[in-house]
Symmetry: C2
């Protein structure tokens, strides 16, 4: 069984690749909730929804988020009435948040509500929030600390980012399915999808006990670099790395995950980083990581799984490659 | 200045007729809130919205309620997700309730929130809820007491109605603009629009002090019968009258409003009731009351205003027609 940690668009693509490759019982997608917020009185979970819509085959292929063929009559009307329009909710997407509110209001956990929603959309693979507890990413900018969606959507990541804080993370506990999978003897590997390490993966790692559990487990942890040729495929990862004083590169991603991951999948454009990555104590694997089609997703997923199998075998032969620092 | 008491579709049409006839400062539309309820976590005010959309020129001409050219993608998606679909909220209409929730959440009264919404939609005439306080119509049926919208929409008025109760009405107070208008020396008449007397007007009359104020004021109170030829133009008024043991007729409407109104406008189809209505102590006025076009609305409004002016004049000459029983 494979745990895949994912954030938004890039993560969702690899989760989809894994779902094409693995039967439902062999995959658990664990999704960042640091971006979640209450908007217009509704509980909005951008990363969970991106992964859910992607697995349901509903995702908008142009944006990566939202629903294909979405309409905006609600939003247009709300704007006309003087309501907030900076965070755009499509007519169909809105139903997800309204239904989630109803389910949470009826006492369901976010995990259970997500299961209801995903199941209704025909998603067969398991999809859970990293935690059912409150966890909110807060961004320190030159102009002070602001909410994540204020930074990410309202201000379009324009403010210079100085630090990130994951409010509630230390008190939060992994969601039941995530905790169970981490302790499951059937666990074969943990895949850190090519999501933003700072915005999408760090909040998951900050949840009480997660980093420790990932460091302690004796199955390979494989990450896929979201940085390709010094650029992020999508989103502000490269800009954020620069603002945090780091060169946007696959090697820097390796440094960020040092002590946690056993293997790092990097793009052919970054093959030059392979030796330096190996020197950090992890196994680099060079391949094409840009996922333009469903086949690209499945192909990258297969390579990730093959790398995990290889590292598992090496470990079984007694010569573990792990040199984790934790 | 004219106060118009209105409920849903029929009332909205006459309010629109009055708005075509009177400048904004001379009309105050006071709308029933007994039908209001919270649905999907949103504050829904069906009668206020029907009057607002009608005055804004947005109303769906087929249904009388909702917005012309409405779309239903939110509702269809919500149904797919297992959400409640018995009360249908269109994509555009939904924005009204979401915006209202935001305004109420920011501390505005329902009156102030309604002013914001109506103003954004370009409504120039004043439109207020009858009360800003909680007031909920509850329906006693053969199967027990149920919420109004459960009776009206979910069960499509099928249960036999035995009684109505206006929860909170005695503790409620008229909205500030309504209270002010009732005491305004510039008040010329109160018009009770052709709305359902039991479901739409009685909740307004049940608000603390309203019936007393209407009985005490020295300007004419004119009602328009919603029953034409023994039938309701729209809605369950005739069915309800039968279930309450009353013959659906203009005369029965007159009996219902006895002691409260000075003049009753009835349809030509009901001209035969005129003498009996006069015998109850109110002035009947026979005309075409079915409003099929904007011109019909304006024409009926003009007749209502003319009747009010005539009764005012009669009163000024010292020979009041009023024989109120209160």
């Amino acid at each position: 069984m494979i745990i895949a940690l994912a954030g938004g668009v890039g993560g969702a693509k690899l989760v989809h690749g894994l779902a094409q490759t693995l039967p439902p019982e062999r995959l658990l997608a664990v999704v960042n909730t640091g971006d979640d917020f209450t908007h217009l009185g509704l509980p909005v979970c951008p990363d969970l929804d991106t992964v859910m819509y992607t697995l349901a085959g509903l995702a908008n292929p142009e944006t990566g988020w939202g629903i294909a063929g979405e309409s905006w009559r609600f939003m247009d009307s709300l704007g006309r009435l003087g309501g907030e329009t900076w965070f755009r909710l499509g007519d169909q997407d809105l139903a997800t948040h309204v239904r989630r509110k109803g389910l949470l209001g009826a006492g369901l956990s976010l995990s259970a509500a997500t299961r209801e929603l995903a199941s209704a959309l025909g998603v067969r693979h398991r999809l859970v929030p990293a935690t059912d507890d409150p966890l909110r990413t807060r961004v320190t900018t030159d102009a002070g600390e602001i909410d994540f969606q204020d930074y990410f959507v309202r201000q379009q990541c324009r403010p210079t980012l100085r630090a990130l804080r994951f409010e509630g993370a230390a008190q939060a506990r992994p969601s039941p399915a995530f905790a169970e999978a981490l302790a499951d003897p059937a666990l074969e590997a943990v895949v850190i999808c090519p999501s933003n390490p700072y915005l999408s993966i760090d909040p998951v790692l900050a949840i009480g006990g997660v980093r420790e559990a990932l460091t302690a487990i004796d199955v390979p942890v494989i990450a896929v670099s979201p940085i390709v040729g010094g650029q992020a495929i999508k989103g502000p990862a490269a800009k954020i790395m620069r603002e945090l004083g780091r060169e946007p590169s696959a090697l820097e991603v390796a440094r960020h995950y040092r002590g946690l991951v056993d293997g790092l999948v990097i793009d052919t454009a970054d093959a030059g980083d392979a030796n330096a990555i190996a020197a950090l104590g992890m196994t680099p694997h060079v391949t094409g990581t840009v996922m333009k089609s469903d086949a690209d997703r499945a192909s990258l997923a297969s390579e990730v799984l093959a790398l995990a199998a290889r590292l598992r075998q090496t470990a079984a032969q007694g010569s573990s490659t792990r040199r984790r620092t934790a």
